[in-house]
């Protein structure tokens, strides 16, 4: 009978000396991708789901508007409000805000400013259409309805 027993003198422990390097690599990845949030969101944000998502190439062109019920209802009431930067604004102030945001962009890109509307699921169309009317007044007509992915059943 053939001999199957071989000399098995392989080492049983995995060398772990490279482990810190791997961990460091992961660490650097997350350090680089992390965006520390510089502003508090004052309104509720339950982002709706959609299937036909598009990704914008140039992130610098995007400015964010947050729309939803205020988290602090005692202070701001329970009606949906609009947050631009770190303060709640009324729809009439949006034109001014858009112009400020547009001035931050290089001149060639000013026409391409895109407003990402992060709207809570529970908001009705009324406030949204008010905001859109103001955006039209400000001539910032590219709007992105922020949404998260959904798997669709076919």
């Amino acid at each position: 009978m053939a001999k199957f027993k071989k000399k098995t003198k392989t080492q049983e422990s995995i060398p772990t000396s490279a482990l810190p390097d791997i961990i460091f690599m992961l660490l650097f990845f997350f350090m680089v991708t992390t965006v520390l949030r510089e502003q508090d969101i004052l309104v509720e944000q339950k982002i709706p789901q959609a299937t036909q998502l598009q990704k914008l190439q140039k992130k610098t062109l995007i400015s964010y508007l947050y729309i939803g019920k205020p988290k602090n209802t005692g202070l701001y009431g329970s009606e949906p409000r609009v947050q631009a930067n770190d303060a709640l604004v009324t729809p009439t102030e949006i034109v001014q805000w858009v112009n400020q945001e547009r001035d931050k962009l290089p001149e060639a890109d000013r026409g391409l400013i895109t407003i990402s509307m992060k709207v809570d699921k529970d908001v009705k169309m009324g406030p949204i259409s008010d905001v859109q009317t103001e955006l039209r007044n400000a001539d910032a007509r590219r709007v992105l309805y922020a949404s998260t992915g959904k798997i669709y059943q076919d």
Partner: protein, 211 residues
């Protein structure tokens, strides 16, 4: 002469390095929010000049696919009551590709389409004449919830992207991922869109049922 007893070992003990790195890693894992700039792009119509009366657009009723969503989130699709938006994407697609009464240009367009899309042309007289004329109109109330509106808008976009993608032989996901940065992807994008404009009209909500 007194001699220091033991030589300090020259190496720094690196055994706990992994632990330190792990700790930092977990910190960043927890604080990271990978910014998601994904969403559905919409181009709003330009502001109306109050001195210029809005253009009087004469369009045949059959070229407009009406979707009304009321404050109870019920749908009225082409005059027919619905509870949910399910299956609407298929109907949008049928409507766009109907080719009921194509003019010369549209007939030429029809001939460029792949056979799978040509097969979807139902040529019903009561539906759209050809894709250039077809408009999907979505109208809401002020009390309509955003979620339902977005669902319908999403389905309308899906119908168009499905058509574009099928034309260039990609899946809809691949087509949407085209960036248009380089020549090849731009060419594909244009080829998909050519002659079939994405005409989704969002009417100003009326005042019923909201604030």
């Amino acid at each position: 002469m007194a001699k220091s007893k033991s030589r300090m070992s020259q190496e720094v003990n690196a055994g706990s390095m992994a632990d330190i790195a792990f700790l930092l890693l977990i910190f960043f894992l927890v604080t990271t929010t990978i910014a998601s700039d994904k969403g559905i792009l919409n181009i709003l119509p330009p502001k109306l000049d109050p001195n210029v009366p809005p253009p009087d657009i004469k369009k045949n009723e059959r070229n407009i696919f009406n979707v009304l969503i009321n404050a109870n989130d019920d749908l009225l699709v082409e005059g027919e009551y619905r509870r949910s938006a399910e299956g609407l994407d298929k109907e949008f697609k049928d409507f766009i590709l109907n080719f009921g009464a194509p003019d010369e240009e549209a007939a030429a367009l029809f001939n460029t389409l792949p056979a799978s899309l040509q097969g979807q042309a139902l040529r019903r007289p009561e539906s759209s004449d050809h894709p250039k004329e077809a408009v999907i109109s979505i109208k809401t109330n002020r009390g309509t919830s955003y979620e339902v509106f977005l669902e319908v808008f999403d389905l309308a976009k899906k119908a168009y992207f499905d058509i574009y993608a099928e034309r260039v032989g990609l899946t809809a996901d691949e087509y949407r991922a085209l960036t248009g940065d380089d020549e090849a992807s731009k060419a594909l994008q244009d080829k998909g869109k050519e002659g079939i404009p994405m005409a989704i009209s969002i009417a100003e909500p009326d005042k019923i049922g909201g604030n």
